[in-house]
Symmetry: C2
Subunit: 214 residues, 2 copies
DNA sequence: GTCTATACGAGGATAGAC
DNA sequence: GTCTATCCTCGTATAGAC
């Protein structure tokens, strides 16, 4: 049972691209994200969502044609935002393969910690999407994963990383480290998203380092 | 919609400790695990479970007092089995901290791959448990996690691993690597549970290795 | 122990007033 | 665009026959 009263304010805690929506639609999406994260798509009722936004059950259907499309909107937003963050992290900063990979892992980890409510929905409720929507999301995920594979491959190719690395598997492991925290992360815990990002990036560099390397 | 007809055979593919139950109860649990893994607890109906076991909707309640208690039975079984596997892996085999940690990560990874249907339920549907059952499961999880923390600490203390390691965070990362595969693992993929276990164990040793170490 | 039949509430979605 | 009221299906669980 999420709290209402994000009345007009944006919802910087659970919805990154919230400015793209009108105030009511935004309140509904914020409520939906919180409900889905807490109880899952099937464990959430349309009454929960509308009530969390301070509206009657019927009001939801003025803004979304179905519960599933509200989920799709949320999942699409989350995946798009994650992708954008990685592209930005890849673009700026130093350009060595190590620094670049560390920046990607750092950014991806921080994203999942900072937006852990949204990220949780993006990981756990994909199965509730209709097949065509699911396929669309998978395409975005593939592009996101590809960024990591390319970054690992770059360091292997130019000899910065261990030449014996299995690129796909190592990239997958780095993604696992960044994503799995949505399972256990709580914002009232001892670690900030920044600390988690820095730590995970450090682990990433250990994973790709040359055997005898400094 | 899982398939029926595990009629009398055990269900080695989804239920490890299946021998402890009678044949009908076992069929119900097997059906329930498959349904929960595919659609989540709230996305699964008691009709789905009973139908998947070849029974009428009402028959479920002869063997389980509620849908939630069937879930609890499944989750308890899964967590107990994972714990037992780790204790066994810790007990046999060579005794150096590196070998021991590798054996733990290997076993834990293999467990999640081999029993990925069960493991998926154990990771994704915990929130559907009633609070008292949830608390009980958390206790088992804590003991399981503690095994990894102790194994990492042992190598740090005797100088085998990097003395600068943050024991809790590194243990958490190893657990993440083993668990996250339930999100993407498919048995028809290119990797066997054994290959995944060996690879993840190798990553674990990289993560704990001394900086200049061989 | 399993079945058919059913009670009863929950939940997605709509109708129509304001 | 929001509300109240409602439709109607689905879903958990039970009753009672065999």
């Amino acid at each position: 049972m999420p709290t209402p009263d994000d009345t007009t304010a944006g919802a910087p805690d659970v919805l990154p691209g919230a400015d793209a929506y009108g105030p009511v639609q935004r309140r509904l999406l914020v409520s939906a994200v919180r409900c889905f994260a807490a109880n899952g798509f099937h464990g959430t009722t349309t009454r929960d969502i509308a009530g969390g936004a301070g509206l009657s059950p019927a009001a939801l259907y003025v803004h979304f044609p179905s519960k599933e499309l509200a989920l799709y909107e949320i999942v699409r937003l989350g995946h798009r935002h994650a992708y954008d963050i990685l592209v930005a992290a890849r673009a700026d900063g130093p350009s060595g393969p190590g620094e670049r990979l560390a920046a990607l892992v750092d950014a991806y980890t921080r994203f999942h910690a900072q937006w852990h409510v949204l990220a949780r929905v993006c990981q756990y409720d994909l199965g509730a999407l209709r097949p065509e929507h699911y396929e669309e999301v998978l395409r975005t995920r593939h592009e996101t994963n590809e960024i990591f594979r390319v970054a690992v491959a770059a360091g292997v190719d130019d000899g910065t990383f261990d030449p014996g690395l299995d690129v796909r598997r190592v990239a997958r492991a780095l993604i696992s480290l960044a994503i799995d925290l949505v399972r256990w992360y709580r914002p009232d815990g001892p670690e900030t998203p920044e600390q988690l990002g820095a730590f995970t990036a450090q682990l990433a560099l250990r994973l790709v380092a040359r055997p005898g390397g400094r």
